[in-house]
């Protein structure tokens, strides 16, 4: 463990450099450059807020604010995007870096670390913009806002564990990547992101307790829409599941590493 950390510290320059390059690579040949990384999420937030609050005048039951539904929508979609991005990168992490893995010997843990940092960076931009929107429309939830960060951390752990398990499996069975794309679609619509939880029949509402993403996103909505602290007791099982997934990923990786390198 100490050796791994030492090696990662030694390669910190590579990890940070990779994050930077991955960010730059997206906008490398564009005239506006990194401005696009702001324009795109800004457009998304504007669409959800202006269209739903001003044009469709959609209302969230039990919430007075004009922006109630817009904030509800953004709280779910932005964090879901963070989850999907991380798992999506995770499942391709070995395949995409095959060239590096095959040619150079470097601490393999650099890759997931780079992945986390890249995802967090992208999320930070869009979430920062959203926070600015909350402040501008006077919808900022106050101190309870701080409650979001532990939930985000649990979600990162969950997405990382899941992404790494899929990443290892995807090297051996490419179907995993395809299949998960389909699963992700269903998962999105089976999570109360676009619709509120209470429009579901009671049986379905009960089932949502077993959907970790519904619990996590419910916590964000609770904080951002209602200004309440997350319900910590509901989050413990998700944290436990996330840790188990990470351990499973680690075990799978250790056990299949030699074979994985041969398959790449």
């Amino acid at each position: 463990m100490k050796g791994t950390l030492g090696a990662l510290w030694h390669y910190r320059s590579f990890i940070l450099g990779s994050v930077k390059r991955e960010f730059q690579a997206k906008y490398l040949n564009s005239l506006l450059g990194a401005t696009w990384s702001v324009i795109q999420p800004l457009a998304m937030i504007l669409v959800y807020t202006v269209i739903f609050s001003q044009i469709m005048r959609a209302k969230l039951p039990g919430v007075e604010s004009v922006f109630g539904y817009s904030i509800y929508l953004c709280a779910g979609i932005i964090t879901w995007g963070y989850f999907a991005d991380m798992v999506g990168r995770g499942q391709n992490i070995f395949i995409e870096n095959a060239n590096l893995l095959k040619k150079l010997s470097f601490p393999r843990f650099c890759l997931p670390l780079t992945l986390i940092l890249s995802s967090v960076l992208n999320f930070a931009i869009i979430f920062g913009l959203f926070t600015a929107f909350l402040l501008l429309t006077d919808s900022f939830p106050g101190w309870a806002f701080l409650g979001i960060f532990p939930v985000l951390a649990i979600q990162a752990l969950f997405a990382l564990g899941l992404g790494m398990v899929l990443g290892v499996l995807n090297v051996f069975f490419r179907d995993v990547g395809q299949l998960f794309g389909v699963v992700l679609q269903f998962w999105f619509w089976m999570t109360p992101i676009i619709y509120p939880l209470d429009i579901l029949p009671a049986a379905a509402q009960h089932l949502m307790k077993y959907n970790p993403m519904a619990i996590l996103i419910g916590a964000y909505q609770r904080v951002l829409v209602h200004g309440l602290w997350p319900d910590w007791s509901s989050l413990w099982p998700v944290l436990l599941l996330s840790i188990l997934l990470c351990l499973l990923a680690l075990r799978l990786f250790r056990k299949r590493y030699a074979e994985l390198m041969d398959e790449l």
Partner: protein, 432 residues
């Protein structure tokens, strides 16, 4: 620092009969294996001491690259282990994965980071990298605009920016031009002088002899021979050109035959030309007929069909010709070309023979001619052509049988000089 020890190393890849077998194997609770192992390396044992330079040779598919990948640490061994002391720099294939959209400089930084340097260390090394890579203003252009040679140069410059304890060079260098290759080898040589251990994989026997004192020949995933680079490369060339070593007594007797100067090829009339070592199937054969070149024999330094002839060594070329018709005057010809097709030297029996006397031939007669010359050529591969013609050598000759570029000849040369022909210059300062 820099020692490598390989102990009972083996590598097997898993092969599954169908795509579903792996899934079945993973999921079956009985853990019954459904794959079979394909061994690409087996039972490798060797020690390399710090500062040694060792060539790894073998035909394509022998397992050289797999061995290097295991030593580099990117592939895991199935059995046995590899112990390495010190920092390893590997130039596998094209070095590192450059990102085509980033500039050479950005890629150099990334390459350095991958090797574990910090940004400040890389920035300190950058002037050396730029100077060595010689890509000038292209350094700040995206790598996709680079030629393959430029990429290799940059990759080499980054990988060798500071002296590693172990340097592993794959075929990477074969992409660059000759001058840059020489420069790379110069750097490699200065590293080895300072104590770097070198592992060189090359198909060029000359490179291995020049840069390594020891070589290991791998055949079918096992060590076939481990010894001085000269012995091993000779063996490698024999393997490559299909010379049979399986019957050592036959070889010894043939060497003895050469030594006894009793070179009289059997006077039978079977065409065995194509069965001789060094024969090229791509030969261009033409002529009017009337005579046939049936056989040839090359001998140098007491060895028949040597896998490599030392530059300057007197070499005998025997040609056996069967005449179907009678001719008043026949002429035998010999020609040597470079691989690019440049005519290096040509001669015929009339010009080379003493007194320029004429030869006649009877129908059904078999004659054996011999051209003998010191091959004062630089290291490399050369093409030999034989021919037989009829007619007056001072006037137009009628080609009867010509076998152009029919034999591949390998010349080795220890003496460094530029170009093809060794004109054997001396040098002195006449006036200080």
């Amino acid at each position: 620092m820099g020692s490598i020890s390989v102990r009972s190393l083996g590598k097997a890849y898993r092969q599954y009969p169908t795509r579903w077998s792996r899934l079945a194997e993973w999921l079956s609770p009985l853990k019954k294996p459904r794959h079979h192992l394909k061994w690409v390396l087996q039972d490798l044992n060797f020690e390399i001491s710090p500062g040694e330079s060792v060539g790894i040779m073998g035909v394509n598919g022998a397992g050289k690259s797999t061995l290097l990948k295991i030593i580099t640490g990117t592939t895991h061994a199935t059995t046995g282990n590899v112990g390495i002391q010190g920092r390893v720099a590997a130039l596998l294939e094209l070095g590192m994965g450059f990102h085509p959209d980033f500039t050479g400089r950005q890629n150099a930084v990334m390459g350095g980071q991958l090797l574990g340097y910090s940004v400040s260390e890389i920035n300190a090394l950058m002037p050396h990298i730029e100077e060595f890579a010689e890509i000038g203003a292209y350094m700040d252009e995206p790598v996709r605009k680079y030629s393959s040679g430029m990429q290799v140069r940059l990759a080499f410059a980054v990988a060798t920016a500071s002296r590693p304890d172990v340097l592993i060079v794959d075929e990477a260098l074969s992409v660059g031009d000759a001058r840059f290759q020489a420069k790379c080898y110069q750097r490699v040589a200065s590293f080895t002088r300072e104590g770097t251990t070198l592992l060189l994989v090359s198909h060029s026997a000359d490179d291995v002899v020049k840069h390594c004192e020891r070589a290991i020949l791998i055949k079918g995933g096992r060590i076939e021979m481990d010894g001085s680079s000269r012995d091993v490369t000779n063996r490698y060339l024999d393997e490559l050109f299909g010379k049979q070593r399986s019957n050592p007594t036959a070889l010894e007797s043939s060497v003895a035959e050469v030594a006894s100067e009793a070179i009289t090829m059997d006077l039978d009339n079977i065409d065995v030309f194509a069965e001789r070592p060094g024969y090229r199937m791509e030969e261009y054969r033409w002529g009017h007929g009337g005579a046939e070149i049936l056989d040839y024999r090359i001998a140098a330094a007491g060895e028949l069909y040597p896998s490599r002839i030392d530059s300057g060594c007197v070499t005998d070329f025997h040609v056996k010709v069967l005449f179907h018709e009678a001719y008043e005057s026949v002429v035998a010809g010999f020609l040597i070309k470079s691989l690019e097709g440049l005519f290096l030297y040509g001669i015929n029996s009339f010009l080379a023979g003493a007194g320029g006397q004429r030869m006649s031939a009877q129908a059904g007669e078999v004659k054996v001619f011999k051209f003998s010359m010191p091959l004062r050529l630089n290291a490399g591969d050369y093409l030999v052509s034989f021919g037989v013609s009829s007619g007056d050598p001072r006037q137009e000759l009628v080609p009867l049988d010509r076998r152009y570029d029919s034999v591949l000849l390998k010349v080795g040369c220890e003496k460094p000089f530029w170009g093809i022909a060794d004109l054997d210059s001396s040098f002195e300062v006449v006036r200080p």
